[in-house]
């Protein structure tokens, strides 16, 4: 850490990544904030770094070979039919597990129906696990909605508060960084408009312990 009260550009470079992780202490953070206000080079660095993270975190950046999903499904099914065949190159610790699996039904015959490959993208991230009345923010010229205080709010000066349901209704998509917990585990291929289908509307109230 820097004890000096003055933060120079080099200090900012070194900490910019931690800054975006919300992993710098409060006093240094506020000195960085001051620096960003006066130094356009470091501001540009911050914007660019944030943009990089945002772009690459988009699910569209992950391309898989075509047929990947059905080949995987096939291989899983095959291993259920003949569990002995596929694990030969594996390390020894798996053997007892595999034996256990045989006892518990590892020889089921798979259904052979093919599941269509959904095109997953940040825009198709299901939002149905986000409590509809959760308070979120959007900003003027961006498509995503965030938990208040998220580092990836596009334009903090022009942000606006609303509920998650309103945000979805207005066509915003959840930020994969701050809303990751809600997006993580929902089933694939649904659209965010299914949020109304949330079965537990009372699981979370608006309770932010925001960034600052």
């Amino acid at each position: 850490m820097v004890n000096d009260n003055i933060v120079n550009c080099e200090h900012v470079w070194r900490e910019i990544s931690n800054y975006l992780e919300d992993d710098v202490d409060a006093s240094f953070r506020s000195r960085m904030d001051e620096h960003f206000q006066t130094c356009s080079a470091c501001r540009s660095l911050l914007e660019g770094t944030r943009n990089v993270i945002q772009l690459y975190s988009d699910e569209r950046m992950i391309e898989v070979p075509s047929g990947f999903g059905s080949r995987l499904q096939h291989r899983l099914a095959q291993s259920r039919r003949a569990p002995g065949r596929s694990w030969s190159p594996w390390s020894a610790w798996l053997v007892p597990l595999a034996a256990l699996l045989l006892i518990t039904g590892g020889v089921r015959i798979a259904s052979s129906r093919t599941v269509p490959q959904p095109l997953l993208s940040a825009h198709a991230q299901p939002a149905r696990n986000i409590p509809p009345d959760m308070v979120v923010v959007v900003s003027a010229d961006a498509k995503q909605f965030h938990v208040p205080g998220c580092e990836f709010i596009h334009n903090k000066e022009r942000e606006r508060t609303l509920t998650a349901k309103e945000a979805v209704d207005q066509g915003y998509v959840p930020c994969v960084r701050c809303l990751r917990k809600y997006l993580q585990t929902a089933s694939a291929g649904r659209t965010s408009l299914e949020m109304e289908a949330t079965s537990e509307p009372d699981i979370a109230g608006p309770k932010q312990d925001g960034g600052e």
């Binding site: 291993s79 599941v115 979370a204």
Partner: protein, 220 residues
């Protein structure tokens, strides 16, 4: 950590009720449900293997092996962890084992020790021109970004992929790769800055010149 900003509610933790139910049923032996369980993550599993192996057919094979391994070990999974993180960790481990068998492993170990400590000075300080995420609809843009990522040294690429694409946290990234938290942070900083410089240079080379948003509002 960015995680600290997330509204954590006691009833929303590691998985949705649907996922938890699937896990429970697979753990009780309904193996035919396993694909449904992993399907939301299959792309990320592939990407994790690809980041380490850089070869599509190896990555696909390792991704399949990792998922078979996960199926066989499913009883070891505890619901207080994130299922996707667990899957990714198994995959990374499998991919690292595969690579160790490769003769390239020796070369890359040398690469690993190179200039870890030296600071990276960003090159480009011109006003950043934002690339909006809508631009990712264009295959060409995705390819440019993928090329930029592929050009990074392995140690930077791996950390960046696990943290910023797979959304593991810093600790999980360190655990998966078997490196220290400090190394994760250093490499992540560098990866992000290098990618920013590469993308800035890409603007100058016209990579993003036909972006739809350029009409009307200026993106910067």
């Amino acid at each position: 950590m960015a995680e600290a900003n997330v509204v954590v509610n006691n009833s929303v933790q590691a998985g949705t009720s649907h996922e938890l139910e699937l896990i429970d049923r697979v753990q009780r032996g309904e193996n035919s449900l396993f694909y449904e369980l992993v399907r939301p993550y299959e792309r990320r599993v592939f990407a994790a293997a690809m980041a380490i192996l850089r070869n599509e057919s190896d990555a696909e094979d390792v991704a399949q092996e990792a998922m078979l391994k996960a199926l066989r070990a499913i009883r070891q999974f505890r619901a207080d962890a994130r299922f996707s993180t667990w899957l990714i960790q198994i995959t990374v481990n499998e991919a690292l084992m595969r690579r160790r068998k490769d003769r390239n492993g020796v070369m890359e170990a040398i690469d690993d020790r190179r200039d870890e400590e030296s600071d990276y000075a960003p090159r480009d300080f011109a006003d950043w021109r934002e690339i909006p995420s809508e631009a990712l609809e264009r295959k060409e843009v995705r390819q440019r970004l993928a090329q930029a990522l592929a050009s990074l040294d392995r140690k930077y690429r791996e950390v960046f992929v696990l943290r910023d694409m797979e959304q593991l946290n810093i600790q999980e990234t360190a655990d998966a790769l078997g490196i220290s938290i400090a190394s994760v942070k250093t490499r992540l900083l560098r990866a992000r800055l290098m990618l920013r410089d590469l993308l800035a240079a890409g603007w100058e080379q016209g990579w993003f010149s036909r972006l739809p948003f350029e009409k009307g509002t200026k993106p910067w």
